[in-house]
């Protein structure tokens, strides 16, 4: 069973969403619905499932419904139709009291503009989740201090959020989400408001934390590089519809339509594709071995060994951690991997 299951969720914003629902279900597009009825389609038949311990990245441009989607998981927004279940509990069936318990213990959230309480200190912000749970002061203090330390904010405990820089503020947001020690973390464009250097820093921090904590993370972003870096699976939303779900490699190598193709067009493939993805097995390898061989780890990215290959013609031997040969990469594989793929749609229209 998946950790989070979203099944056929529709969300329509407007005065009488339930009346518009059949029209959307019959396949009217977002623009048509808006023009005819004045209602905005937020989500259009979206189904995703997120496995335990993985990072699911939901990507799309602004207005694609990604923030709406993430708010369905903890029911900050109610769907017009569809099912949301977390660990097998149907979130839609929870009453007010159980919903509050559910939010307190099952998941925590990080916000785009941080959502910190400006009247509380860093320490109070981080301890907020525990405070609303009614935990005693000693415990709050212990946990909050520990989390503040884990995001590297020691010494800032008693400062107020707007005395901190953007990156530090978001670390407070992260620490606050970690403090309740929930299995699931929802991150709504958590790093989008930060400048590139700090963003990359925070991504690294999240990856490191995730390696230790193994949480189930749903991450929203409009930045493809970010989603490729963080995501185990990526779902791409366009106009409220889920266009493609897959691993980062799937998205890059086999974009489902023009929209995704346009998205991945400018990606630096060498930075995203790992050696083991494109290697061919030793049986398949037929060419003569060049005297010059380069050994690369199966998990290394292409850009780590590409310069070496360019300098001297060599056979690339892919090995695992203990040095066993897993496969080979020749110039052919490299060139296929690095050439921009056109989506099927584009190819057809050109014929």
């Amino acid at each position: 069973m998946s950790k989070i299951e979203i099944k056929n969720v529709y969300k329509i914003f407007g005065d009488t969403p339930s009346k518009i629902l059949p029209m959307v279900q019959e396949g009217a597009t977002k623009e048509e619905v808006l023009e005819k009825t004045g209602h905005t389609v937020g989500l259009d038949n979206v189904s995703i499932s997120v496995e335990e311990g993985e990072t699911f990245v939901c990507m799309g441009l602004s207005g694609s419904g990604k923030s709406t989607l993430i708010r369905h998981i903890n029911r900050l927004i109610d769907p017009t139709s569809g099912e949301v279940s977390v660990e097998g509990t149907n979130v839609m069936e929870l009453d007010q009291k159980n919903l509050i318990e559910f939010r307190r213990h099952k998941m925590s959230m990080v916000f785009q503009r941080f959502g910190l309480f400006p009247h509380k200190t860093v320490f109070q912000n981080v301890g907020y989740g525990l405070e609303v749970q009614g935990k005693d002061k000693n415990e709050i203090e212990k946990v909050a201090m520990e989390k503040i330390e884990s995001v590297g904010l020691n010494g800032f405990e008693y400062m107020y959020p707007n005395q901190l820089s953007g990156g530090m503020q978001q670390r407070v947001g992260l620490a606050r989400a970690l403090a309740t020690n929930t299995d699931i973390m929802l991150m709504d464009e958590a790093f989008s408001a930060l400048d590139p250097l700090i963003r990359s820093d925070m991504q690294k921090q999240l990856i490191d934390l995730q390696a230790q904590l193994k949480k189930t993370i749903v991450f929203i972003t409009h930045d493809l590089d970010e989603s490729l870096r963080l995501g185990d699976h990526i779902g791409i939303l366009n106009g409220g519809r889920l266009v493609q779900v897959g691993t980062p490699i799937d998205i890059i190598m086999k974009p489902a339509d023009d929209y995704v193709a346009a998205f991945v067009k400018d990606v630096n493939r060498a930075k995203v594709i790992k050696a083991k993805i494109i290697m061919i097995s030793p049986q398949q390898f037929k060419g003569s071995k060049n005297s010059n061989t380069i050994k690369v780890n199966e998990d290394s990215f292409l850009d780590e060994f590409l310069p070496k290959v360019c300098l001297t013609p060599a056979t690339v031997e892919v090995v695992d951690k203990s040095g066993n040969v897993k496969g080979y990469i020749t110039d052919k594989e490299l060139s296929v991997a690095l050439t921009k793929t056109h989506s099927n749609g584009v190819a057809k229209s050109k014929k």
């Binding site: 900050l76 939010r103 959230m109 959502g115 309480f117 609303v132 707007n162």
Partner: protein, 338 residues
């Protein structure tokens, strides 16, 4: 509900026609028969006497019923407020004047966060109240007492109503026109029912202060709560705050600067009203102005006017600087850079 929306204009039309019919049938001046309206068209010249909606007799009747039926309740309110007013006034008047003056100055000092400028200004104003004319000292105390009681009443009733409005759109839509009415209706219109309900003196003034000064407080409480950053509210919800935790822990503290502004507005309007209320026999600094007016004594009226301004400055400085400090605490403008 949706279904009946299109009939709403029809409903208005029926009500309007009904009102005209009532006006026609109850009027003494109506023509002997309806047919005369069509034969004798002279009523199209001047506004006809029969086209007169009988609101006045209706209101008078309603008000009589109110007094007869709920008189006891108003009596009770009157008794309570008058008792409170009397006790507070007697206590303050009984204090030696230097002691009272020092307490006000200390209040200003601590409310402003130990700012010497504000404190000196308030001290100057307090001293000048008595300095202008010794009579003014006790009268200012009376006025202050009324304003303070009126304000407390506004706070106790206004802030919860503001919170309710911010939470519920229907409540807001229902109350906004009432607030508009309270603010725009001329104050004399409710001074008169005030007298009838509570008699002459301090209590109708408190009643008038409440009607006049509570709308800005309600509005600013409502606005303040609604202006709290949506993402911050979402954060509170996402971590499982219940309604009470959300209100007391997040919404109210963040709305506090606006609420303090509302309290400040409320005080100023209360002071303005208490001067007008001197016309219905409320004792205080306002009756000095009235006396000056009646005797055509320009000096006397101006002197009392200045005293009122000084009183207003004292109130304003104390509430305002307290509000500013609240704002600093909520928004933490980086002060240490200085």
């Amino acid at each position: 509900m949706e279904k009946y929306k299109k009939y709403i204009n029809l409903v208005y039309l029926v009500i309007f026609v009904g009102m005209v019919v009532i006006a026609y049938t109850t009027s003494k001046y109506r023509p002997e028969s309806v047919t005369m309206l069509f034969t004798d068209l002279s009523w199209l010249g001047d506004w006809p006497k029969w086209l007169d909606f009988p609101l006045m007799p209706f209101l008078n009747k309603w008000f009589d019923i109110l007094i007869v039926k709920y008189g006891i309740m108003f009596e009770g309110i009157n008794f309570f407020l008058l008792g409170l007013y009397g006790k507070m006034k007697n206590f303050l008047v009984g204090l030696p004047w230097p002691l009272l003056m020092i307490s006000v100055i200390l209040l200003a000092y601590f409310a402003s966060g130990r700012q010497t400028g504000t404190t000196i200004m308030v001290a100057f104003c307090v001293f000048f109240l008595g300095f202008l004319s010794p009579r003014y000292w006790d009268k200012c105390i009376m006025t202050t007492t009324i304003v303070v009681i009126g304000m407390l009443l506004c706070l106790v009733i206004g802030i919860p109503i503001g919170i309710m409005m911010a939470r519920n759109k229907k409540v807001r839509n229902a109350l906004l026109p009432v607030l508009d009415l309270m603010q725009t209706i001329p104050s004399f219109c409710y001074l008169i029912p005030g007298i009838l309900l509570f008699g002459l003196g301090a209590v109708p003034a408190i009643f008038a202060i409440f009607v006049y000064a509570v709308p800005p407080l309600i509005r600013l409480t409502d606005l303040g709560i609604r202006l709290v950053d949506k993402e911050v509210i979402e954060a509170a919800e996402a971590f499982g705050a219940n309604k009470k935790q959300k209100l007391l822990g997040v919404q109210l503290p963040l709305a506090l600067p606006n609420i303090m502004q509302g309290i400040n507005q409320c005080t100023m309007m209360a002071l303005a009203m208490v001067v007008i209320a001197s016309m219905i026999g409320t004792r205080g600094i306002g009756d000095e102005v009235l006396l000056g007016l009646q005797q055509l004594n320009v000096g006397m009226a101006t002197e009392a006017g200045i005293a009122i301004v000084l009183l207003a400055i004292i109130f304003d400085r104390i509430t305002q600087s307290y509000g500013e400090r609240m704002q600093e605490r909520v928004h933490h403008t980086k002060k240490e850079k200085k």
